[in-house]
Each structure stands twice: as C-alpha cells, then as structure tokens.
C-alpha cells in the first residue's frame, strides 16, 4: 500500500522539472550467447537515419515502438538509481520480443553517454546475467 502511495503521489503533486539538466543518457546493448560463443554487442532498436514528414505526422497518432523505447530508457535509469528485478525483467522481455526466435541466451548491458568537455564518452554501468532467449520469448508471447 505504501509503495502504491509513493507511485501515486508524484502524479498528483508533480515536480514538472522537464530537462532540468541533460543527464548521462542510457542505451541498451545486447548480445546472444550460444554455449561458449559470445556474440558481439549490438544496440537495441537503433534509430533510423532519417524520418520523412509523412512518417513524423503518422507518429502523432501511432507511435507504440518509440513509446516503448522511451519506457526502456526509464527502466534503464531506474535500474541504476534503484536496482530492481522489475526493471531487469522488463528490459529482458522487451529486448527478447524484438528478436527472432532462437536458441541460446540473451544478455544486455547499459551504456551511458555523456559529454566531458567537447568529447562524448561512453560508460558501461550495468551488465545483466544471461537468460535463456526461448524462455523470455515464451514469457512475452
């Protein structure tokens, strides 16, 4: 009950501090592991190079993929600020759902981008325990 209250109160007494600072920004990278063979790290759902005006206008009404991506950004930030199994499960399930069915295990890591002087630096802040891809895809079906 107390937990529900702590989730509810910020919605009716919001802080409205949008973009107060531009904090280090998370990216999710994943790799597939088959036995001893470790795949290379790949960015989850990379952005398109560009979007046309028509696509941008369509996204005003239909934007489920991007909104899920923003939710994953929230989960990544929460995982660093207040680690929880919920955030790990949400990232695992949603990354697995976007992948073709296959054997082996899925592992993800959180890379945070920030600016130091004129340089953009990448820092790996979290690496998950590998989980069977089939079981994740079964759970999200």
């Amino acid at each position: 009950m107390l937990r529900l209250l702590t989730l509810f109160l910020p919605t009716v007494i919001p802080s409205w501090r949008f973009f107060k600072t531009v904090a280090p920004s998370p990216r999710i990278e994943y790799r597939l592991i088959a036995g001893e063979s470790l795949g290379g790290w790949q960015e989850d759902r990379p952005r398109p190079a560009s979007l046309g005006v028509g696509q941008i206008l369509c996204r005003m009404l239909w934007n489920p993929d991007w909104n899920e991506q923003l939710y994953l950004v929230s989960c990544s930030e929460r995982l660093i600020e207040a680690p929880s199994q919920h955030s790990i499960d949400e990232i695992n399930l949603r990354v697995a759902r976007a992948l073709p069915a296959g054997p082996g295990a899925l592992q993800f890591r959180l890379v945070f981008l920030s600016r130091q002087g004129a340089q953009i630096v990448k820092l790996v802040e979290y690496e998950s325990t590998p989980v069977s891809l089939a079981s994740l895809q079964g759970a999200s079906a």
């Binding site: 973009f19 531009v22 941008i56």
Partner: protein, 235 residues
C-alpha cells in the same frame, strides 16, 4: 461571431469538464491502442471501453473513476509511469475530474478544477525556471546536448542540429522565456488562448523532434480547465 469574440469567450465549469472528458477519451484511447499493439489486454481492453463510455457521455462519473483505477493499476504494473510526464498528466486530470464530479458543492468542484489549472500553469513555469537558473541552458549548451547524445531525437539525422549552436541558443531562450511568461497570459482571455496555441505548437514540435506524441494530446486535454479558471478568477 468574429474570431476576437471566440478568443474572448470563457467556459463554465460544466462546459470545461465536458470538453475535457471528450478530449481525454480520445487521448487515452490513442494511448490504449498503442499498448494493445504490445499485448496487456487485461488492462487496455477495459481502458478502451471506458474511454468509449466517457466519450459518449455514458455513466456520469463512473467511467472517469474507472479510468482512474486503471491508471493506478498501470502505475503498479510498470512500477511508475510508462511514459513519464504524459502518464502523470493523465492521472492528474483524471484525479481532478473525478473529484470535481464527487464534489458536494460547487465550491469544491471549483477547487478541484482550479488545482488542475494551477498545475498546468506550473508545468510551464517550473520547467522554465529550472532551465533559466541552469548555466548550461543559459549558454545554449543544454539543448545542444539534447540533440548531441540524449535518447530523445527520433532519428540520427536530427543530431546534426547540435552543430547549429546559434539556432539552438535562440530556440532554447525562446522556450525558456515562453515558459516563464506563460502565467502572465492569465491576465487576458485573448492572450491566454494565443499562449495555449503557442504551447500546443511547442508540444507539437516536441512530438516531431523527440517522439513525444502522447504529451501533445494529453496537455491539450487540460486546457479547458485553464480557460475556465481564467474566466472565473480574472474576468
């Protein structure tokens, strides 16, 4: 009736509530359909049905409170908002609308709507204030960083805007000054309507650049409360 007459017109509390429920039914239905594409039928099919009931005006306050309960379930399901500020605004509007329906007297109904109106003004003013006191925003660096490395730009091509510092400096200050000046628009009904039009344009550009489409629709839903508030307090 001229355009000026339309811009000067206020809303009664009942009109504001009716208009908010209509806009809200569209905005929440849009969110729910996006979620349904991902599954979670247990939450989003009832949510969609409640939107239809609210949009058609069935059931008085019941669909509003039904949607409030579903929003609470969503907070639990995702252990926080799914879509940040837009989910917070959805819950805030539903809470204020629900309380306005439950209010035993017109005074308490007006208090519930006034709270929403004040929060809407704060959503702009506080956002402007936290930026204007931040040296990174004052120098225009913060908006460059948003485009340079944040998770928000919807395409890699948009990151090139980070190489146009003068343009982003001007845009950053335009946003800050607009957000800080927004409360002044309450002094005049025409100024308020024009400010809301600019604010809608601001949310539209955020939707185009950063994919924040849900913010656009849900912020529009709260505007009738502010139009009523301005008419009630300042006219």
């Amino acid at each position: 009736m001229s355009v000026l007459d339309v811009l000067q017109k206020g809303l009664t509390a009942a009109q504001a509530m009716g208009l908010m429920q209509l806009l809200l039914s569209f905005a929440i239905a849009q969110q729910s359909l996006e979620h349904l594409a991902r599954g979670d039928r247990m939450i989003y099919v009832p949510r969609l049905l409640l939107c239809v009931a609210m949009g058609l005006g069935f059931g008085g306050a019941w669909p509003v409170w039904g949607l409030w309960l579903v929003s609470l379930a969503m907070l639990w399901r995702y252990q926080g908002p799914y879509n940040g500020g837009s989910d917070k605004m959805t819950m805030l509007i539903l809470s204020c609308l629900g309380l306005a329906h439950l209010a035993p007297t017109p005074f308490w109904q007006e208090m519930a709507l006034s709270y929403l109106a004040v929060q809407l003004v704060l959503s702009y003013f506080v956002s402007g204030w936290v930026k204007v006191v931040n040296p990174e925003w004052q120098r225009g660096e913060a908006l460059r960083d948003v485009f340079r490395f944040s998770a928000y730009p919807v395409s890699e091509g948009l990151r090139d805007l980070a190489d146009r510092p003068r343009f982003l400096f001007v845009m950053g200050w335009a946003v800050i000054l607009f957000e800080l000046a927004f409360p002044l628009s309450l002094l005049d009904p025409v100024a308020l309507k024009l400010a809301l039009l600019c604010a809608a344009g601001f949310h539209f550009s955020n939707a185009c650049f950063f994919g924040l489409n849900r913010f656009f629709w849900i912020w529009l839903c709260a505007y009738p409360a502010l139009i009523w508030f301005q008419d009630r307090i300042f006219s």
